[in-house]
């Protein structure tokens, strides 16, 4: 491997950021990934299966995770945020706030003795609050780096973990650090977050136990999830025999400030509908949609398969309301079937609301630090659709993945590689 001759900073360790890192590192440049959470992997690590070929997400992502971890040119800073950025293309000075994780990354072997000992159980963010984790934890089994983190908000300072750790890796006195880093190019790969669907009270999310969002569904059907992969209702543990998926929630809605299409919801819901039938072939599964946007490679074919082979029912209509009966916990979806002009009331035992995507928390703050303009929708503004689809106003800063707008996995990966290409052109200039 050639010696590192220039460095790139990548903000965000999701699949786009990881791809960008790998492609830059492959050319011999140094890469530093700054990731806010305790592990890289991003949203993709949370999802169960991926469309359109139903590969399990962990299965295809895990090798990438270890590839990134093991690459000699890549440094991963988790639990970290960009503090400040100065300089210009080819020569940025970046200050990174590395938050104390209270566990020495060099010493921790990820054995988990500490978590077994920890008496504090809190809802797991990774499991969307459906499962539990300890106050010292790794977010998910394949977490990378496989290093534990103390959640100080919930730590009761009992010191049991400190005592049990044979490697003496835990230090509850640890303080935040500032890491300085010189970068020739910067790639913003911060991803996006789910729209909070409780903004639509008429759809019953957060009001009724059996109305969940799509990411919660992902965790429910995931073998490593809180139910061990059993698709059951959270209210009573019953296996739902009738399931409804509601589309375009927090997407294509001018009123809610999300006028754009979130691009992935149609497909992930078709995939989720297929997975629901896979878990329970006798279930009746409905998808309520406005337009089915199966536009990517193999997507339309997958949509057809969901209809023809799995028998998923698709009803065109925006759901007016989700109501709950008093006793059974069952839900009634009120919707106009616009293809027959009928108002229908369809009973479900579980309803999954499919949220659109919105820019991640702190996006505007990061954009300010980097001096980047944003779109009206709150994403990083790209320079030009054709001349610079991964470029920004700053010639040394590039963008990929969902940071400039919703994208599915293949498009995020392509954009990650593209951003890497552009970054290395800058880095190579420094080399000359």
């Amino acid at each position: 491997m050639a010696k590192s001759i220039g460095n790139a900073l990548i903000v965000g360790g999701g699949v786009a950021g990881m791809q960008a890192a790998l492609d830059i590192a492959a050319q011999g440049f140094g890469v530093c990934i700054v990731e806010r959470s305790p592990s890289i992997g991003g949203r993709m690590a949370m999802i169960d299966k991926t469309f359109p070929t139903l590969d399990c997400s962990a299965c295809i992502l895990t090798p990438k995770l270890s590839e990134v971890l093991r690459h000699p040119n890549i440094t991963i800073l988790t639990n970290s945020e960009v503090g400040s950025v100065s300089g210009k293309a080819g020569d940025y000075k970046v200050r990174i706030l590395k938050k104390a994780r209270y566990v020495d990354e060099e010493k921790c072997s990820g054995c988990g003795d500490c978590a077994t000992e920890c008496p504090v159980e809190v809802p797991s963010e990774f499991d969307q609050g459906l499962g539990f984790r300890k106050a010292i934890y790794v977010p998910f089994p394949q977490a990378t780096p496989n290093v534990y983190t103390v959640d100080m908000d919930n730590c009761i300072m009992c010191n049991r973990c400190v005592k049990v750790c044979e490697r003496e890796a835990i230090d509850l006195e640890m303080v935040d650090e500032i890491v300085e880093f010189d970068a020739g190019a910067i790639i913003v790969a911060t991803g996006a977050q789910l729209f909070d669907v409780s903004a639509y009270p008429r759809l019953g999310y957060s009001l009724y136990d059996n109305v969940i969002n799509a990411m919660e569904f992902e965790r429910l059907v995931n073998a490593a999830g809180p139910t061990g992969g059993h698709l059951i209702r959270l209210s009573d543990g019953k296996v739902p025999m009738s399931i409804g998926f509601i589309q375009c929630v927090g997407a294509r809605d001018v009123q809610k400030g999300v006028p754009y299409c979130s691009r992935i919801c149609c497909m992930y819901s078709i995939k989720n509908a297929v997975m629901a039938m896979e878990h329970n072939p006798d279930a009746k599964v409905w998808v309520y949609y406005a337009d089915i946007r199966a536009f990517g490679k193999g997507f339309e074919e997958f949509y057809e398969m969901a209809k023809a082979r799995f028998g998923v029912r698709f009803l065109r209509g925006r759901v007016a309301e989700v109501m709950q009966g008093t006793h059974s916990g069952n839900l009634v979806v009120k919707v106009e079937d616009t293809e027959t002009s009928e108002i229908r009331l369809i009973e479900h035992e579980m309803v999954i609301v499919s949220p659109g995507m919105i820019p991640p928390e702190g996006m505007s703050k990061l954009a300010r630090k980097l001096g980047l303009p944003m779109t009206d929708d709150g994403y990083i503004k790209i320079e030009h659709s054709f001349f610079g689809p991964v470029a920004t106003k700053d010639p040394g800063v590039f963008v990929c993945g969902m940071a400039d707008g919703p994208k599915d996995i293949p498009d995020s990966v392509s954009a990650g590689s593209a951003a890497a290409m552009k970054a290395t052109i800058i880095l190579a200039k420094g080399e000359e």
Binding site: T53, L54, D55, V274, E278, M305, R309
Partner: protein
């Protein structure tokens, strides 16, 4: 019923066709993968052996499989013209045509051997092919009987 007859009845009841399946890495093995990811269900009787190209499959492999007790052999490769190695599948097809004639002369029903083309995207064709050979062989009964 004699004990032997009983045994035969018993054997018949429990008998399930044993199929050796040779698949090329590029088309059919990938097609079988896609059948899995697409959750297409097919009979569990076949055991896939991955080879780089169907052109790698020597007639001896098939004869030896039958000799060792396979009830049927499935060979699945890329469509003519789509071979990752240009033409290995065509060479296999030529060999197989002759070999089928030979085994028929030896008293073995050539329907025990199935050659199919299934591309990486043709999961259903792959799965249907497995179903077909299993049913074909099931109708013929265990190969050992034909030897008698």
């Amino acid at each position: 019923m004699t004990t032997v007859e009983k045994k035969e009845v018993q054997a018949k009841k429990e008998w399930e066709p044993q199929i050796v399946a040779f698949c090329c890495n590029w088309c059919s093995y990938a097609g079988a993968d896609l059948a899995g990811t697409s959750r297409i269900q097919y009979p569990p009787n076949a055991r896939i052996i991955r080879v780089n190209c169907t052109g790698r499959i020597s007639p001896e492999f098939i004869l030896a499989s039958l000799e060792m007790g396979a009830d049927g052999v499935l060979v699945s490769g890329c469509h003519p013209g789509d071979c990752h190695y240009s033409s290995g599948n065509l060479k296999l097809r030529a060999r197989l045509t002759i070999m089928k004639m030979a085994i028929e002369q030896a008293g073995i029903n050539p329907d025990r051997i199935r050659l199919q083309w299934a591309s990486a995207s043709e999961a259903q064709i792959f799965a249907d092919g497995v179903t077909t050979i299993v049913e074909q062989v099931r109708a013929l009964g265990p190969l050992r009987r034909e030897w008698k």
